[in-house]
Symmetry: C2
Subunit: 173 residues, 2 copies
Amino acid sequence: MKRITWLSLVSGLTLAGLAAYLAPASGQAATAPSLLKTIPAGYRDWRFISIAREEAPLDDIRVILGNDAALRAYRKGTLPFPEGTMIARLAYSYDASPENNQAFGRSQSYVAGQPKNGVQFMVKDSKKYAATGGWGYAQFNDGKPVDEPMLATCFPCHQAVQARDFVFTRYAQ
Amino acid sequence: MKRITWLSLVSGLTLAGLAAYLAPASGQAATAPSLLKTIPAGYRDWRFISIAREEAPLDDIRVILGNDAALRAYRKGTLPFPEGTMIARLAYSYDASPENNQAFGRSQSYVAGQPKNGVQFMVKDSKKYAATGGWGYAQFNDGKPVDEPMLATCFPCHQAVQARDFVFTRYAQ
């Protein structure tokens, strides 16, 4: 389940990607990204990039936030993203809202509940994370970084969007 | 449909609320809030409060952002919200993501598409908007403010959460 949890910055781990990781041709894809040992400071104050909903098994509603470098790049269409770019994915339980439904007069409303599926990050440092496309990947569950083997599944999946510098999420206008 | 569109800052217009507006006992509830003539500057850079999904007929996925005053109040639990508080609701079409689904290996992913259902605001000014609980309400469709009669439906609905200073959205940790 932990492995499934890490399937995203609105992204995923394909079986093909997993196979590529488990039996890499070059060995490079198998290089686990360096872990971030501490959560990037102030990420809850980063700016809004986009939102998404993941149905089961993840079953969450999520927001993607970015630091200033990320926002500038998104808005200018800069690719690859510049050094220092940081992107965060915060996910929450997908909770029906009786209060909202009563106000609307019908059952239609779902809101963010408790934090769920950890907080994930992509951090751009082309030298430090050269083996994984210039991005370091991290996930924190209850403030604690997850193990390196779990993070090693990130890069194979994100290779699906190499043309967008390995970033799945598009900017919401 | 326009009337339905304005049902929220993750909120709604109840039939009871509409009735209260159409035939108010005191007349106060019928006082339309003053319109904001221009969109508050920089709202796309405000910080993240929470997210929600509204099924049909609204059929969108939405984010609630707030200015510094809003965030400070949310985090401290300050009620009522201080003067100058501004809250924005941005909504987007709820689009299945074939790209994400392929990465996940299953159909589960929905992302924000094009802007939808306008951009809505609540602005706290206890004197200016005294007739509507101290909040001014606004919606902009394609950058243009909607008509006053439409906005007059906001306050009756938001009275359902008077105990939270008329704000439906709760802060996502």
